[in-house]
């Protein structure tokens, strides 16, 4: 007779880890019997590259490293991780080495049992069956699916209430009531009967029911209040309340919780919510007549991002919106400066560099810009551009875009050049590449015109694109730089966390994740002479140009989207909590879903770096 607790230890462990956590209890209870237990001492290979594997491994304790056919570390597994599925799904031989880096105890499911399990349980099959790409895509979809479709539909009334209700008693005089409203700057006042709401008085009531009809301000307020007003429930959604208010043509709605008023929602509150729409922001920026005004409107940018994340827009879309607002701010500041300085002495083009040029700006971005000046400019003309740059840069600081620590700004005379000098600068980078200079210069290869003459930028750009594909040494240096920023594969085990300062034990998601993809895509695009600057478009160009397989390219795009989305969600949370915005994610605040997929995304990036390293061997340098 068997005890009912047999192998419960193993069953319970499996139940805590994906994909087994989706199995029904009876299947889960039976699963351990289909497994064997093996022990691998540190240093031993569990799955060997170019050999066949016929098992699925569940790591019970210890840790493993997974290296690809280039010998690059692509993943690191810890307790609860599952490996071996790639060969089971895609076929043998294995393209990976799986090596124990600590002594490992593993549960092993034979191939036949794996097949039976995946055949019977689509959820489990789904977990393995799809390649990383599909898993990434699913992860993105799942992240973006977790909310509803618009901020209006999602926001609760409770979230709109900014302060406790302003109240008075029924016996207070109309004059007292008006004074209370003035003191608090309130456009409405709740009239209380003890703890219960008796009525409401608004600005409009004071006009229509008091002043216009000659009622004495010494009369008690209850005589002119709206008794038993329409109220809203604290748990209602904003849009429900909005419909109610529009339907009844009222502008103030007391909100009750357990029959007690907790605040008042006004139509203005609701309009403000709609205003977090980027269309309004861009429109408002264009209406501003001074820097201060632009700064006031651009202060709404974080709220826009927060709203977009709440509305489950994609990271790619949000990047475009943030860029559009950034462009609008910069254009407005340039136009204002031009108006003060008088028109430019010669044609010029103001260009954005880096993430904004790529349409990928996030919050916490600094200024990256430059000026291309027509060759006809005399030395005396240049002073005008110096002053323009100074004013615009100072304005940008006011609008929340700090100066660039690397001084890649139009205020720097090195980046405020005549077209011919820009050509010379690029020619030097392309033909006489010096590693340090290349690292600094790479940002200039992401350039997009924002304002001014439309002919200068294309002239410069065409020249660069014609030359880049032949500049082998330059590309090799750029490729090397692109493989240096290794994604923090082991961050969940505390390996690659920033070790010092304010960001101790956080993950710099921009540097190792997003930055790495951006750099890879840039090398590929330049090698092909593609005019694309947007990273996903560059990856498309690499696929079209035969540098990257469609599958690998789609993987990389998805990885970028996922990592970017995690960054934006992190920033949105900081905005919500009123904290400064940055790129440092605390791994403790990531769900196991995020961690798993982030690790997959990093693995994809690492593998793309590895492919690039073999395409541009450093031995040529």
């Amino acid at each position: 007779m068997a005890l009912d607790v047999e192998l419960a230890e193993i069953r319970d462990f499996l139940a805590r880890h994906a994909p087994f956590d989706t199995l029904p209890p009876d299947v889960l209870a039976e699963l351990p019997r289909r497994m064997t237990v093996e022990y691998y001492r540190r240093g031993r290979t569990i799955i060997t590259r170019s050999k066949d594997n016929h098992s699925l491994f569940v790591l019970r304790s210890g840790a493993v490293d997974i290296h690809d056919d280039q010998g690059t570390l692509v993943d690191r597994g810890e307790a609860g991780d599952v490996f071996g599925s790639i060969t089971l799904v895609l076929g043998n031989p294995s393209t990976f080495d799986v090596t124990a880096i600590e002594d490992c105890l593993v549960y092993v499911l034979p191939e036949a049992e794996f097949r039976a399990l995946t055949a019977a349980h689509p959820d489990v099959a789904h977990f393995f069956d799809e390649q990383r790409a599909h898993r990434m895509r699913g992860a993105v979809a799942k992240l973006q699916d977790s909310g509803s479709t618009s901020a209006m539909l999602k926001t609760g009334v409770r979230d709109l209430i900014k302060r406790a209700p302003i109240t008075t008693t029924q016996d207070a005089s109309i004059a007292q009531a008006a004074r209370t409203m003035k003191e608090h700057g309130a456009s409405s006042l709740l009239v209380m009967d003890g703890e219960q709401l008796a009525g409401i008085v608004t600005d409009r009531d004071l006009r229509n029911r008091v002043l216009a009809v000659g009622v004495s301000p010494e009369r008690p307020v209850r005589e002119v209040m709206t008794a038993g007003p329409v109220v809203g429930d604290a748990d209602a959604l904003a849009f429900e309340v909005l419909l109610e208010m529009v339907g009844r043509n009222i502008h103030h709605l007391p909100i009750l919780e357990h029959d007690l008023p907790i605040g008042v929602v006004t139509t203005t509150d609701l309009m403000r919510m709609v205003q977090a729409s980027p269309v309004y922001v861009v429109g408002d920026i264009q209406k501003q007549s001074d820097v201060e005004g632009v700064a006031t409107v651009s202060a709404r940018l974080p709220a826009v991002v927060e709203a977009l994340v709440g509305q489950d827009a994609s990271a790619d879309d949000i990047g475009r919106v943030v860029t559009a607002i950034g462009d609008a701010v910069e254009r407005r500041l340039i136009t204002l400066a031009e108006a003060e300085l008088g028109g430019p002495p010669v044609p010029y083009t103001w260009v954005a560099l880096g993430s904004r040029a790529r349409l990928e700006q996030a919050l916490a971005a600094d200024q990256d810009n430059a000026i291309i000046i027509s060759d006809e400019a005399t030395d005396a003309d240049l002073a005008w551009f110096e002053e323009l740059a100074r004013r615009v840069s100072a304005g940008l600081v006011e609008c929340g875009y700090p100066t660039c620590p690397g001084d890649v700004m139009a205020t720097n005379p090195r980046w405020r050049l005549r077209l011919q000098d820009w050509r010379q600068e690029f020619a030097t980078w392309l033909t006489q590449p010096v590693p340090d200079a290349i690292l600094q210069a790479s940002i200039f290869f992401d350039m997009r015109p924002v304002h001014g003459d439309s002919g200068l930028f294309p002239e410069l750009h065409h020249g660069i694109l014609a030359r880049a594909p032949q500049s082998r040494l330059f590309l090799a240096h750029l490729a090397k730089a692109a493989t240096l920023n290794e994604p923090p594969l082991g961050f969940f085990r505390g390996f690659v966390l920033a070790k010092e300062g304010d960001h101790a034990a956080t993950l710099d998601i921009k540097r190792g994740g997003i930055g790495a993809v951006v750099e890879l895509a840039r090398v590929h695009a330049l090698a092909l002479g593609s005019p694309a600057v947007h990273t996903a478009t560059r990856i498309q160009a690499a696929i079209a140009g035969g540098i990257m397989s469609e599958e690998k390219g789609a993987d990389l795009t998805d990885a970028l989207e996922f990592i970017s989305y995690v960054r934006l969600r992190h920033q949105a949370a900081q905005v919500r909590e009123g904290r400064p915005v940055d790129n440092h994610v605390n791994p403790d605040q990531l769900s196991s879903f995020d961690k798993r997929h982030l690790r997959e995304a990093f693995a994809i990036v690492r593998s793309a770096q590895s492919a690039m390293a073999s395409r541009y061997p450093t031995t040529f340098m």
């Binding site: 007779m1 047999e6 230890e9 289909r34 237990v37 022990y39 001492r41 304790s61 002594d103 105890l105």
Partner: protein, 228 residues
């Protein structure tokens, strides 16, 4: 006790001659493994016996758990956990193995449990932590039931642990360091609930894999080197 001076294989042959028909005779009919066999080519049976005390003559078996280790792999499909109907009250021992009188009353007769153990042990090496308990109780039962001794090839993880942790000059390991759970900690093996016979057998089997991996290093490791 004369067979102790013989090899286990000689003891098996001798016992086979005196044994009455039954599960023990079937067990004794299969030759033992050659001590020169590499450990990774062996079959073992990790066994744990829960009892009412430590003395085979006085105390009783209340539960048995086992799991085979076949060529370096613990085969969970062969895992068994058997309750034994003890002829007496479980008494205070229930506080250790959590098997109360009511639970034990649902068990099978010792002969039946033992038949399963012997069938699983056929052609395999007995693996246990502090194997003296397991061997002692089985010996006693075999003598009573089938009138024959119980020779076995035995690997004892407590014995292996003593060898692995003994100092260079043969100092005895610290007291307590040889206990199953302490020994497992050394290899950072998972923490399980103790004293459920199958979990104890599994724990012992996992510990054995870890010990064998350490003892082997890069070289060979034969049964002879690990036999108790």
């Amino acid at each position: 006790m004369a067979w102790f001076r013989r090899t286990p294989e000689q003891a098996r042959q001798r016992a086979a001659q005196v044994c009455r028909e039954g599960p023990l005779a079937a067990y004794l009919s299969v030759p033992f493994a050659d001590p020169a066999t590499d450990v990774d080519d062996l079959e073992l049976l990790a066994l744990d016996v829960e009892t009412t005390g430590l003395q085979p003559g006085r105390d009783h078996v209340v539960a048995v758990g086992f799991v085979p280790v076949v060529r370096g792999r613990i085969e969970l499909a062969g895992a068994r956990s058997i309750l034994v109907a003890a002829p007496v009250d479980v008494g205070q021992s229930a506080t250790v193995h959590r098997l109360t009188d009511d639970v034990v009353a649902g068990g099978v007769p010792l002969a039946e449990a033992l038949a399963e153990v012997l069938a699983a042990l056929r052609g395999r090496v007995l693996l246990a932590h502090f194997a003296r308990i397991e061997v002692g109780f089985i010996e006693r039962a075999c003598a009573q039931l089938w009138g024959a001794p119980f020779p076995a090839q035995v690997v004892d993880t407590l014995d292996l642990q003593r060898r692995l942790t003994a100092g260079a000059f043969g100092q005895e390991p610290a007291p307590g360091s040889l206990r199953l759970w302490t020994a497992r900690e050394r290899y950072r093996l998972p923490i399980y609930r103790a004293h459920e016979p199958l979990i104890d057998a599994l724990s012992c089997a996992e510990l054995c894999l870890a010990q064998v991996a350490e003892m082997r290093g890069e070289g060979d490791l034969t049964l002879k080197q690990v036999l108790a």
